[in-house]
Symmetry: C2
Subunit: 355 residues, 2 copies
Amino acid sequence: MSRVHKIASMPGDGIGIEVTGSAIAVLNACAELCGDFRLDFKELPYGTAYYKETGAYFPPDGLDEVRQFDAVLFGAVGMPDVPDSISLWGLLLAMRGPLQQYANVRPVKCLKNILPAVRTVAPKDIDWVLVRENSEGEYAGQGGRSHRGFDWEVATELAIFTRHGARRIIRYAFEIAQSRPRKLLTVVSKSNAQRYGMVLWDEVAEEVSKEFPDVKWDKMLVDAMTVRMVHKPHTLDTIVGSNLHMDILSDLAAALAASIGIAPSANIDPTRKSPSMFEPVHGSAFDIMGKGVANPFGAVWSAAMMLEFLGEKKAGDMLMESMEKCCEEGKTTEDLGGKMNTKQVTEALIENLKI
Amino acid sequence: MSRVHKIASMPGDGIGIEVTGSAIAVLNACAELCGDFRLDFKELPYGTAYYKETGAYFPPDGLDEVRQFDAVLFGAVGMPDVPDSISLWGLLLAMRGPLQQYANVRPVKCLKNILPAVRTVAPKDIDWVLVRENSEGEYAGQGGRSHRGFDWEVATELAIFTRHGARRIIRYAFEIAQSRPRKLLTVVSKSNAQRYGMVLWDEVAEEVSKEFPDVKWDKMLVDAMTVRMVHKPHTLDTIVGSNLHMDILSDLAAALAASIGIAPSANIDPTRKSPSMFEPVHGSAFDIMGKGVANPFGAVWSAAMMLEFLGEKKAGDMLMESMEKCCEEGKTTEDLGGKMNTKQVTEALIENLKI
Ligand SMILES: CC(C)[C@H](C(=O)O)[C@@H](O)C(=O)O
Ligand SMILES: CC(C)[C@H](C(=O)O)[C@@H](O)C(=O)O
């Protein structure tokens, strides 16, 4: 009897729809090839079209609905005619925090035949796991505007860092670091300028590090971290930081390794009380949507992470190996130096699946 | 009769002391060569040694003292045995805000013979001016910690964005963009996740842009901006953003153009009510301090900006040309591929000064 995993797919908007379609096709082909598990997809229609029809990006009982699934496969959300602050808080950020998917995990490495961006860097120099706090910090959502529209207007953004929140994500990052061969963790902060939350963050890192005597770790300021990622990538392995800091550093990491089009992410609730959500790092990309040229690798890599999270590691590895093979054969979209469109790459990915 | 400019030098800590000494030597040689102006330096001893002696990084009347000068030449502050949050807020951040040096200007370009970091990028592709809001935002300094040390501790960082503050810096950036050949401005924000201050920032950009119909401008999210800087640097010219966003992006920019060791900055009060302050972007760099190997280019480039700000543009150009000549001749420190120490580079810089 085969294992069944119940997956909510939320393609959302723009190229999210295109790449999620691709990922589902590859996932189904993979499950069929393996034969010992099945993915039971249900598509949830939330996104900008739904918003225009109903006035909400997500129904009032949306969280309960999502909780029925083992995982969520998410595309992207956002359209040019709705302010991003509405669409993102309406859907994506309405799930990450409330579902306590507090760990956003973003592996970054160079796929075969893909040269990293920096001249002095070899492909093997980039092999990172970025761990992003995903439930609080600069994305706590609090703040406001007073004297709106007047010359003396004041707006605030309140970043909230709890000891509980810092501890659980830093501990999770130490665990990841410990599970990797180099056992190396870099904790990012900005405690020279931000004297409260970021100093707490540093203190918690000191405290948690004592539980992991076999992990080497150091601290870096977020600004200096960009320099290190460009010039000394081989000195980095696992990296943990706040919601905003890692938002920025993970885009940079993807650009340095290849293209933002391949970057995957997993929004994980490590307690497994809520389903985790898997999504490419790229957004809905208005500029190329509808053209069928989007790179599906970000979505497929995210799908591979989902499989591993669901206990189907072998199947996840098959997806990764298929992507590597496509890179070797030059069967890629333009951003990776290839000439193929989304459909052709999807076919190649399915063809290259090997059990 | 020659013009006299009164300069407070504040070498501070670590390599700040080494590179400020170098910059002063080059500045004096330049003034002598020009013959029509003089720099009257007074060294102010503020920094960690002063703190250990007096208990304060900056005396209570420090701001009044600094206001007597036409400009401040700053080195760096910070030592391993004092928390950065104390030293930075004690000295550097105790001046930027209170002196209303609201514009932090950071030009970035590739000097002669120095290849940019990214393979696909040509030296001419990087020619940017980064304009950083320098008086509020994420550096407003407000926030706190409750239940300190307990499991339920909460720490906050309050970012404050005023319409006044956003308007003056965005207007200043539009003016810089307008004065440059390409008349191109990119406004950085994070208004999809930060719904109050960053949305205000976007609105102000729209409003101010109407005053500059000849400037082409666009908006970018800070995370996507890192990707654009790596992969499409030639599409950028002048860039403006919040205090933290530009702190991060300016380190990245320096790394992409060459080395953080050459990056200059000017903390400017455009109203000229307070003196402006000129400082290399790098910090006190404990790891190399005292070895005499620090790259003085960041400090010398900052000094060139100071000269221009004081009305001595010709002299400022002389400093820039001397640096270019040193790069051509390979008379540089290790981070730029050379073999010289700080003293040798300083001598070469003086030798290469040409009126
Ligand atoms: C779309 C946006 C809200 C999101 C974020 O800022 O978290 C994205 O940039 C990401 O990195 O997942
Ligand atoms: C030293 C530090 C407080 C400072 C900043 O964050 O502003 C520095 O990184 C800079 O960029 O000038």
